[in-house]
């Protein structure tokens, strides 16, 4: 047992930091620190910088652009870029459909899609959730009926994050309506420009537009856009969801947010003195920091266990802890950030959302505080709600 980073790992960490210093423009970083949502052009820019360096898709097979880093190095890279903060790669391409294509796609699909994903030439979105399905993903209703060399797809997807920017959507569709729930589902790649694909925005309670409904009406999809075998889509979906976990704790992001809380708490006054000097406030913040430090080590333990047995891509059920604690901590930090602002959390800064030209209200850094708190209620809901995660642990780990 040795809980220190090796010298090689420390050197790698410094290399990442140096790369970030040199290559990430300060204004992109500043926007992220401000709590602004990432802009498409920023993410495209940054993805291409990473791709040129060969770091766009570290966890992919080396033949498709992966770095061959062990899980610990991958973790260090993730942690450093989150803490910095740098824009995080578009998960729908890099972490979701990419690995699915790399693992289950045919040679043509790999050759065509993977380089475009790594370079963010194609913006991907996810077509899994449907209205009324929620955590019961397999109850999906969207149907794809074979018609010659096409599937004709009809149905509705929802909670499609950043779908408004998307070129492609990967969908779970029902190809065998007779089969039992999880059977009869296929994994289909759909060009968003196909006639019959319509994207409608969903405004969330923070006032932002992050998610969408996607309506699919008689959408004709070439059969070569099927990934793997027909009716085996559920297996690929499980594989995909299992890959989510490394990132889900978001330790680096929470560290960055805590740094931001400290920074702003030094500016806001309470009782005529900086809030950061208020022992009670620091106690609350410290309590979160402790939880975060523990989570970081919990995550490292999961990563190390992965490293040891080889990355099978199968989730360790104990990693549901990462989702539960990670989301709790993220929510605690957004709540604290709002608390820092006191009464100044109240104004709704329209310009943040719709680009209108009202003059900023002081302090302008308060603009994202309450929306951030509202928005982050989602993290204990999506990706399998925390209740679902606890069910998983109860069954798979505790045997209840």
């Amino acid at each position: 047992m040795d809980l220190r980073y090796t010298d090689e790992q420390l050197a790698f960490r410094d290399e990442v930091r140096a790369f970030l210093t040199e290559n990430l423009p300060e204004e992109i970083r500043a926007r992220l620190i401000d709590g602004e949502k990432v802009r498409k052009e920023d993410l495209v820019f940054w993805s291409r910088v990473l791709n040129e360096k060969g770091w766009a898709v570290p966890h992919w097979p080396v033949e498709h652009g992966g770095t061959g880093w062990d899980p610990m190095k991958q973790y260090i890279f993730l942690e450093e870029t989150q803490k910095w903060p740098a824009p995080q790669p578009l998960a729908f391409g890099v972490n979701m459909v990419g690995p699915v294509i790399a693992t289950f796609g045919n040679a043509g699909q790999k050759a065509h899609y993977l380089p475009r994903i790594a370079n963010l030439d194609d913006w991907w979105c996810q077509g899994f959730s449907e209205p009324g399905a929620g955590s019961d993903l397999a109850s999906l209703k969207t149907r794809a009926v074979r018609d010659g060399d096409h599937y004709v797809v009809n149905g509705q997807k929802t909670w499609t994050t950043l779908g408004q920017f998307a070129d492609w959507i990967f969908c779970l569709v029902r190809t065998d309506p007779e089969a039992k729930k999880q059977s009869g589902i296929s994994f289909l790649l759909i060009d968003m420009k196909t006639p019959g694909v319509e994207v409608r925005p969903i405004q969330t309670i923070d006032g932002g537009h992050e998610v969408n409904e996607v309506f699919l009406t008689d959408v004709r999809v070439p059969v070569e856009n099927l990934v793997g075998e027909e009716n085996k889509g559920w297996d690929y979906a499980k594989f995909l969801l299992g890959n989510e976990r490394t990132n889900i704790a978001r330790v680096g992001m929470s560290k960055q947010r805590i740094a931001r809380i400290r920074e702003l708490a030094a500016l806001e006054l309470s009782g005529g003195r900086p809030l950061l000097d208020d022992p009670r406030f620091i106690e609350k913040l410290t309590a979160v920091e402790i939880e975060l430090k523990a989570l970081e080590l919990t995550q490292l333990r999961v990563v190390a266990a992965d490293a040891k047995r080889g990355n099978t891509g199968k989730p360790d059920p104990a990693s549901s802890i990462l989702k539960i604690k990670g989301s709790e901590i993220q929510q605690a930090t957004t709540a604290l950030l709002m608390e820092v602002m006191g009464p100044h959390a109240l104004p709704y800064h329209e310009d943040e959302i719709d680009g209108s030209n009202e003059l900023p209200i002081e302090p302008d850094y308060a603009a994202s505080a309450a929306p951030g708190y509202f928005n982050f209620r989602k993290v204990s809901i999506y990706g399998g709600s925390n209740e679902i995660q606890k069910n998983i642990i109860a069954k798979a780990v505790l045997g209840l």
Partner: protein
């Protein structure tokens, strides 16, 4: 001890609930919010007709002689409807300034106008660096002849953009954080040197930044003791917090009702999700939090009219702390139990959640009031 409403009180509650039920549907509210005012002038007239604006004032002043109990009834109903109108700032905060701080002339001049719905009021108190401290006042009021000249800036003035007149705290003497030397002034929103910049709040109401640049007011603008107005301010804010406590009960109850309904109709894995014991218990936790909040809100209501400032303030601190705690439990669980739809603007529960969140910040958050109460020696120490 009697927790029942009198016949008049029941009528008040029922008729207001009926009015709001008819006029405050989800789409109605969206329309009011999108309008120029950001609320419904028509409903304002109807509140006036119902006597809501005359309610808190003494009969001899032209009011209806309602107590904190009647105010609580009204506020709970407005909370359930997520009403947007400037009732709280005009009738409750402004009304309390008039009742507790107004001399005969001031009462005679302004109360009838408020009661008729012709005068809207707001309270310009928060400043950039005041956080929740009522005695942190950087805005100055310099004596000038028999009047004063005001300079300074006020933040997050609720309904400040529609108010005809503003109650303003300003420093007549002493240092920024002195308890003495604070005066209360009633300033015309259109007076020379007053700049009002309105905006929407996170919960869909309206507020404003207000700047005072050499604003001259006469002696008649002073409410209470210009050199020692803080006790008046505290009393007004106590009255306001008791009212917001009642509004919070309305907001929480509505969220809970929506959530329980949703648990009954929403199906997952082939059953109504209300069949899952964990979700049932979460709904029970909300229920318990609401009943406790309702109890402490009753306590605040009971004490709100008390002249004993210590006992009153204890109750107010307790209410704010308990409702802040409970409101968070109820709001966060309401969203969690709704899942994704709770996160959307097209579903009511998120709007309640945002309102509850902002109510928890208004006039001091739960921790602020807990600490203040602890600093008084606690609740049961007396």
């Amino acid at each position: 001890m009697d927790f029942d409403l009198s016949e008049e009180q029941s009528i008040l509650k029922d008729s207001l609930d009926r009015l709001l039920g008819d006029t405050y549907g989800f789409e109605d509210r969206k329309r009011y919010m999108a309008s120029a005012e950001g609320w419904s002038p028509q409903l304002w007239s109807q509140y006036t007709e119902m006597g809501l604006l005359a309610l808190p004032f003494a009969e001899e002043d032209g009011g209806l002689g309602g107590t904190a109990v009647e105010t609580a009834i009204v506020m709970e109903s407005l909370g359930k409807a997520l009403a947007l109108e400037p009732y709280f700032t005009t009738a409750i905060l402004g009304g309390a300034f008039l009742r507790y701080g107004g001399n005969d002339d001031q009462r005679a001049r302004y109360i009838p106008a408020v009661a008729e719905g012709a005068l809207k009021l707001a309270f310009a108190q928060v400043e950039r660096n005041s956080r929740f401290d009522l005695h942190h006042v950087e805005t100055t009021a310099r004596k000038d002849g028999s009047g004063y000249v005001l300079n300074g800036q006020k933040s997050v003035v609720l309904h400040g953009d529609c108010a005809d007149k503003l109650f303003v705290t300003a420093r007549t003497a002493g240092d920024v954080r002195d308890e003495n030397g604070i005066g209360v002034f009633l300033v015309d929103a259109t007076a020379q040197g007053v700049t009002v910049r309105g905006y929407r709040t996170q919960d869909g109401l309206r507020a404003a930044e207000v700047t005072f640049d050499n604003v001259a007011v006469g002696a008649e603008a002073v409410f209470g003791d210009a050199e020692n107005g803080l006790p008046l301010v505290r009393r007004v804010v106590d009255t306001g917090i008791a009212a917001l406590a009642a509004e919070s009960i309305g907001v929480m109850s509505a969220m809970h009702a929506l959530t329980v309904d949703y648990l009954k109709v929403r199906k997952q894995f082939g059953v109504a999700i209300g069949q899952f014991q964990v979700l049932q218990h979460a709904a029970v936790d909300m229920f318990v939090a609401i009943e406790q909040a309702r109890s402490i809100s009753l306590y605040a209501t009971m004490m709100a009219d008390s002249d004993d400032a210590t006992e009153r303030t204890r109750a107010i601190h307790a209410a704010k702390a308990e409702i802040g705690r409970g409101g968070k439990i109820v709001g966060e669980n309401a969203i969690q139990l709704h899942g994704g739809v709770g996160m959307t603007m097209e579903y009511a529960v998120g709007h309640y959640f945002k309102r509850m969140t902002m109510l928890n910040i208004a006039h001091g958050d739960a921790d602020y009031h807990l600490r203040a109460l602890a600093a008084m020696g606690g609740l049961l120490a007396a």
